[in-house]
């Protein structure tokens, strides 16, 4: 693999609440060339027509919160978390 060829990672995405309804699915496996979860959100947002602004979401990876610059690894499970409203 040459350095110019982007690395493709296999990730699993799960959708909840408003994003689940918007995406029309609750989970998907996908291959991505995004290197961070932020890039992945931009990619998904475009594709699925999600219009939730980034400043309103948090991101979880493999069951815990991560920063937007978290580097994706093969097999990661990623969840974009819209504003919560428990209680």
């Amino acid at each position: 693999m040459s350095p110019s060829e982007p690395i493709v990672r296999q990730v699993r995405l799960r959708y909840f609440a408003v994003l689940r309804e918007r995406a029309g699915i609750s989970s998907e496996e996908r291959e991505t060339i995004s290197t961070t979860v932020e890039e992945l959100y931009d990619e998904i947002k475009e594709e699925k027509g999600l219009d939730l602004e980034k400043k309103f979401i948090r991101i979880a990876c493999n069951g815990d919160f991560v920063d937007f610059n978290y580097s994706l690894s093969d097999g990661d499970e990623v969840v974009f978390i819209p504003p919560v409203a428990g209680g």
Binding site: V18, D51, A60, P83, V84, G87
Partner: protein, 146 residues
């Protein structure tokens, strides 16, 4: 201490009795009930959806923070998921302590943090036929304004 999710009614009195201890003098509980009105619109029922694994992880973290921060004895909390009718208990937080002030402080801390940090979402079903994912209404150009 415990933080649980349940799709059935929260057995408030059973949990409360399970916390009764003869070395505690004070008990404070908070309950969130399903209200018939929000944002100026009549509400018929609610649906709570949780990202369960992370909700439980974060719920436990919050309770542990409270146990470190306030000299209380025990803290337990349960949050409903799924469809709820009016007046049902959506969330319950109970705190036991030797002294009441700390029990109030810890209970308030836990419910405030649950509401802002735990990945649980509330969908309101309004009498006018519309629905809203609470707190998501103004997060985008058109989402939530359906």
């Amino acid at each position: 201490m415990s933080f649980d999710l349940t799709s059935g009614p929260i057995a408030v009195d059973i949990i409360r009795q399970g916390m009764m201890s003869q070395d505690c003098g004070g008990f404070v509980a908070f309950e969130g009930w399903v209200r018939d009105y929000n944002d100026g619109k009549a509400v018929l029922r609610l649906e709570y959806e949780a990202y369960a694994e992370l909700a439980i992880l974060e719920g436990h973290r919050i309770i542990n923070e409270a146990l470190e921060q306030f000299p209380v004895k025990d803290i337990r909390s349960v949050h409903r998921v799924g469809l709820l009718d009016l007046k049902e208990v959506a969330v319950w937080v109970g705190v036991t302590a030797i002294h009441r002030e700390e029990a109030f402080d810890a209970c308030r801390y836990v419910i405030n943090e649950i509401k802002s940090r735990v990945p649980i979402w509330k969908k309101e079903f309004f009498a006018d036929g519309t629905t809203d994912w609470t707190r998501c209404q103004n997060c985008s150009g058109d989402l939530g304004n359906k």
